[in-house]
């Protein structure tokens, strides 16, 4: 087991720089999720750690050892790929034992380790099958089995669940988490799915355009987004972000509505252009500002309201049930301690 440290990683494709100096510490035994929209560089970063991509500058250290010039096989890592990358011409057992065979381990050790992995992953009945004879979830498990038999110091996951259906995804999520609890192997996990990130990570690292926007524990990132991007990216339905100008303890939106701020709020001065952020679940029916209701979506436990505030759409998630009609004006009251303010120009939180 080992920690992973990235120092000022830069990566160019020709003249285009896609990673702009990333610094990141991944403590030993932690589960770190790299989260971001597609094209943000998260996979590139992961693959750089794996050694599948060369970096242009910077240092990668695994367990305190600089591995920039190491071949993937010498980095003591294991990786699970999005499409599993199973060896189609080998059965499950051979897939899992391939790395051990290449390392010329004794047969007894190979058998022991593969059956251990098979047991953990419930693959015992399928050892003689070929990948094409397995379901998606089983293939996923084989890919993980292949990773764990080596007992590496770091696991790397590259969007491993995106090819699975929703139910299986939830199940596998739990399994991976459990596996981590059990093995305590340092894990770097790439996904674009914030739910995955929130549920699994010890630490979330949010990337955009090759830059780390924010890192922290899931709740930290959720409760204290550092900027507009993180605020909008994390949470579903997304945080309401309404442009306005600060005026006398409130933010005046474009249509003149006054969005209340906590008393004596000192984050912004009067006349400053800001973005007013409030998560949908932090809005409740009451006196605050009015929206013109366009859609209501009952999900069972919750009621989602979508309405217009001038040009902007606002969403609220209510725990209570209410009889509301389309076109009705509804008053919403924000929980004032949960209001976020962002600088309209820099996007940074105030």
């Amino acid at each position: 087991m080992a920690s992973v440290t990235l120092r000022n990683i830069r990566k160019n494709y020709g003249a285009v720089e896609v990673i702009h100096g990333v610094n990141l510490d991944i403590p030993d035994g932690s589960f770190v999720v790299l989260l971001g929209p597609s094209g943000c560089g998260k996979s590139t970063l992961l693959r750089s750690i794996a050694g599948l991509e060369t970096i242009t500058s910077g240092d990668i250290e695994i367990g305190g050892r600089r591995v920039n010039d190491e071949h993937p096989k010498d980095r003591d890592i294991a990786m699970v790929f999005q499409n599993y990358a199973l060896y189609a011409h080998m059965n499950v057992k051979d897939n899992m034992s391939f790395s051990l065979k290449l390392a010329k381990r004794p047969q007894s050790e190979i058998d022991e380790k593969t059956s251990w992995a098979a047991k953990i992953l419930n693959l015992e009945p399928y050892m003689a099958r070929f990948p094409r004879e397995l379901s998606g979830g089983q293939r996923q498990r084989v890919a993980m089995g292949r990773a764990i038999v080596r007992n590496p110091s770091v696991f790397l996951f590259d969007e491993p669940l995106s090819n699975l259906d929703a139910k299986l995804r939830v199940q596998m999520r739990t399994e991976i988490k459990e596996l981590h609890e059990r093995l305590k192997t340092t894990t770097v996990y790439v996904t674009h799915d914030q739910i995955e990130a929130m549920t699994m990570a010890d630490k979330i690292v949010i990337l955009r355009d090759g830059i780390i926007e924010q890192e922290g524990t899931p709740l930290d990132v959720y409760d204290h987004p550092a900027n507009l991007f993180v605020a909008s990216f994390i949470g579903s339905p997304a945080m309401n972000l309404i442009k306005g100008t600060v005026s006398k303890g409130a933010v005046v939106a474009a249509n003149g509505a006054r969005l209340p701020l906590p008393p004596k709020d000192s984050r912004a001065r009067d006349g400053q252009h800001v973005v007013y952020g409030i998560r949908p679940e932090d809005l409740e029916l009451g006196k605050g500002f009015d929206i013109k209701l366009s859609v209501t979506e009952p999900t069972g436990p919750e009621l989602h309201l979508y309405g217009d505030l001038g040009e902007e759409e606002v969403c609220a998630v209510l725990r209570s049930r209410a009889e509301l009609k389309r076109g009705e004006m509804v008053g919403l009251a924000p929980r004032l301690d949960r209001v976020h303010l962002f600088d309209a120009d820099t996007g940074k939180v105030l």
């Binding site: 693959r47 794996a50 050694g51 599948l52 071949h71 993937p72 096989k73 890592i77 294991a78 990786m79 790929f81 999005q82 499409n83 599993y84 990358a85 199973l86 060896y87 189609a88 011409h89 391939f98 790395s99 290449l102 390392a103 890919a143 292949r146 080596r150």
Partner: protein
Amino acid sequence: MELSRRWQLLRDVAAVLVTGIFMFPIFWWALTSIKPISAVFDKDRVVWFDFVPTLINYGVTLFGMSRSQLAIDDGLGMGVAGSSSYDSRQSILDSIIISVGSTAITMVVAVLAAYALSRMRFNGRDSFLNWVLGQRFMPPIAILVPMVTIYAGLGMRDNQNLVLGYVGIILIYALMNLPIALLLLKSFFDDVPQDVDQAAMIDGATRWQSFSKVVLPMVKGGVAAAAVLCFIFAWTEFLLSLFLTTQIRAIPVKIQTFVTSTGNEWGFITALGTAAIIPSFIFILLVQRHLVRGLTLGSLKE
């Protein structure tokens, strides 16, 4: 889409009919090989089955019967006055050596290059691909003179050294088949996700191991299909073989020697021609599935 029974029947009939039309020349060719010469050239009618079948043409071309003996002892004209060496067993052997040899070399060279072209990004990759395809642009007739001179200079003509003679023709065929084999194989390699190599590399494989133990076994069907195509192209090539060799007689060249000053020996031509179809056809049957897939050269994926 489901067809009504009547349409289905119509389709069956049409399919059999069309295939039959395409089979006809081969059928006729094989039929001619067991006809006496008078039944081949009947001025009044087309002779279908009312002739006394003869296996003499096969006996002479494949089993070492003597044409001279038949002509002189048995009085068979078989079309011409002459008598010749029609024993084609050596030719069959030559064709097999050349085709198998060149296919083996093509495949080794093409598999290596196709892997790199599929897996590695480097400057000039597209130019290299175009250069490969360009090899197929060259009319064989343009390189006859240079090749003969070069081989003669290197002592690689079969009259100078028989083994090198085989090597020479094998290498030229290897080049001739390289474009099609390489492009075909590249399309098969492209079908294998890059992640697979990378998984292998992380599993501790070197580039070479991930190629030889993982990726190559995964495309073995495609390799077989490409090999069969190469074999067929080598098996059927005529012009280069004719000019680059003097004693090595591949089958298409050998058949041309049955065109004599007093007539085409149709019996032997058809017999050897028919016999020469068989090995290639067996190969093509064995890999037809992969061949069908492979011929689209990967253009099906986006």
